[in-house]
Amino acid sequence: MTLAAVSAALYAAVVVYAATRKPPIAVVAIGLGAIGGLLLLTALVRRVDELLPASLAFVGIVYAIEILARGSGVDDRAPLVGVALLLCAELATWSLDERWSIKAERAVVVARATAVAALALAGLGVGALVLALAAAPIGGGLLWTVLGAAATLLVVAIAARRI
């Protein structure tokens, strides 16, 4: 119950953050966020794992719309948003796992909590590194664009193989 509540709170925090940064698109952001939130709540209450990816996609789209609507300027809190979403997904999954009422010993619970926290911290670090690298004065041009596209395609290819 606590895990589900924290997960929902993180989700709501991201939606509110995206909606309040650019008031003109607040209605769209809140609308899409509400749909995603409803999916998340349904997943948590009715124990339907399949709805989790859709709810995460919705909040991702809300954030992307806000970024595009804002135009220039980099949002320094983007890594925090990413980590919040990752934590939201992890805690929701953990909450769904608890449905089986398996009596877990303390060491198992502590190990998973530690692992989730470590993953979130590492994710925050990677996100921050991405922003820092983007801000670094190393120039631009076609070469960097091609390198970036190649790296992206590589990651997408690995992801596609994974799926």
């Binding site: 992307a64 980099v74 983007a78 990413g82 398996i102 010993e105």
Partner: protein, 423 residues
């Protein structure tokens, strides 16, 4: 072990790919930063995927127990690679209950094996198997899991609890072998029966000298010999009326075990006939071995649905020896068993029917029609009982919670005044 990957890994990989492509397309680094934690999680998931090596050994502290006993099951887990999380589930058949956590999740280190204790409560008699255990090993973030059934199944026989009986039903006739039952016939024995005139061939030691001196002629004492009896426990297994964990079949088996125990202790020969959808029998024998055989056969007793018409003709003649006391335990619900019992009586068997009452297990209903049906059903049962009594068969109703002693005493009282006449 069967490996299962969490669908969350694919979701993370997909979200990361989507974020990176979108970031590249619109030229916004925030989307890449948003996708980065998911990409990292997907990468960590790949790194964590290593097959575990797990072994489990299952032991039960004993193979036989009594109803209501506690049995300890131990599951020993060992893994040379260790495991972040091992979910262990011990599947239990109905009649066994684990008091501790089942299933449970434990962490397993590579150095030391873990021993899990499962105290089991044997709630019902039966022949059970404990195990194998279902285990699921998962990594720390539950990205991958491996499932398997480990450990060998262990047998566990739970015997029905035996009721203490003070007295047993005395059969009308005894058999030819020595036992503890006083025979109605006369012969060599301890119990004095009568005095009669001396006849050639009588032993001198049997002469009653006092009586002979008084009467002026030789008189000898007659004794009742001690003989054994044959008892056949006739179990009606056509139907079982249950309410929760209690039912008529449970009572039947418990009573049969108690009766067999005491009759065999008295050196009588006891046989069992399980008359139902599946007919089985044990020929009458005496001794401890027979007691174990009877109890083992009782553990297999169950209701098998069958619409086949069955009479006592299907039983081999040796399973129902002449002069045997046939003690039927029946809920008197199936017409086939009711007819078979009347048939036994017609063939001259000394028959006693203990009606294992299904009434406490039946809810009368609330509507007028339900109540009327219930009353009609009760009346039809009364009519059936009257039919048995008319045939000289004692029928006693035994309800759950009532001592079996009381029921047997009722039968004894019936037989004191109403004795079947042999044609």
């Amino acid at each position: 072990m069967t490996r299962l990957d969490s669908p969350r890994l694919a979701t993370y990989a997909g979200l990361a790919a989507f974020g990176l492509l979108a970031g590249l397309a619109v030229g916004r680094v925030e989307l890449v930063a948003l996708a980065a934690p998911f990409a990292l999680a997907a990468a960590v998931g790949r790194v964590l995927a290593r097959d575990p090596q797990l072994e489990a050994t299952l032991t039960v502290d004993r193979e036989r127990a009594l109803e209501g006993d506690d049995v300890h099951v131990t599951v020993e887990l060992a893994s040379p690679t260790g495991a972040d999380r091992v979910d262990v589930f011990l599947p239990l058949q109905e009649g066994l209950r684990a008091d501790g956590g089942n299933p449970r999740a434990v962490a397993l280190s590579a150095e030391a094996p873990r021993t899990l204790e499962y105290p089991l409560r044997c709630e019902r008699w039966g022949a059970f198997t404990v195990g194998p255990v279902y285990v699921r090993v998962s990594d720390r973030l539950d990205f991958h899991s491996w499932e398997a059934r480990l450990g060998r199944a262990q047998p566990l026989r739970v015997y029905p609890s035996v009721e203490m009986l003070r007295a047993l039903l005395e059969p009308l006739d005894t058999q030819v072998f020595v036992g503890n039952q006083l025979s109605r016939s006369r012969g060599d024995g301890i119990e004095f029966a009568d005095i009669r005139e001396y006849a050639p061939g009588d032993r001198v030691r049997n002469i009653n000298w006092h009586a002979s001196a008084r009467r002026g002629q030789l008189l000898v004492n007659d004794q009742h010999p001690e003989r054994n009896t044959d008892v056949v426990l006739f179990l009606d297994t056509f139907t079982d009326v249950r309410a929760g964990s209690h039912g008529t079949l449970d009572l039947t088996v418990r009573a049969a075990a108690s009766l067999a125990h005491l009759y065999l202790e008295r050196k009588d020969r006891v046989g069992v006939v399980s008359f139902g959808g599946y007919v089985s029998w044990l020929l009458p024998k005496s001794g401890t071995r027979q007691l174990y055989q009877i109890v083992d056969s009782l553990l297999q007793t169950g209701v098998v649905l069958s619409f086949a018409a069955k009479g006592i003709d299907v039983l081999p003649p040796r399973s129902l020896p002449p002069k045997a006391l046939v003690l039927a335990l029946s809920p008197l619900l199936d017409a086939r068993s009711a007819a078979a019992l009347l048939d036994l009586r017609a063939r001259g068997f000394d028959l006693v029917v203990v009606e294992v009452s299904p009434v406490p297990f039946v809810h009368p209903g609330s509507s007028e029609l339900d109540l009327l049906s219930y009353r009609l059903w009760r009346l039809s049962r009364e009519a059936l009982r009257a039919r048995y009594e008319q045939a000289g068969v004692p029928v006693v109703e035994w309800t759950e919670g009532e001592a079996l002693n009381v029921v047997l005493e009722e039968v004894t009282a019936f037989r004191r005044y109403a004795r079947p006449v042999r044609a």
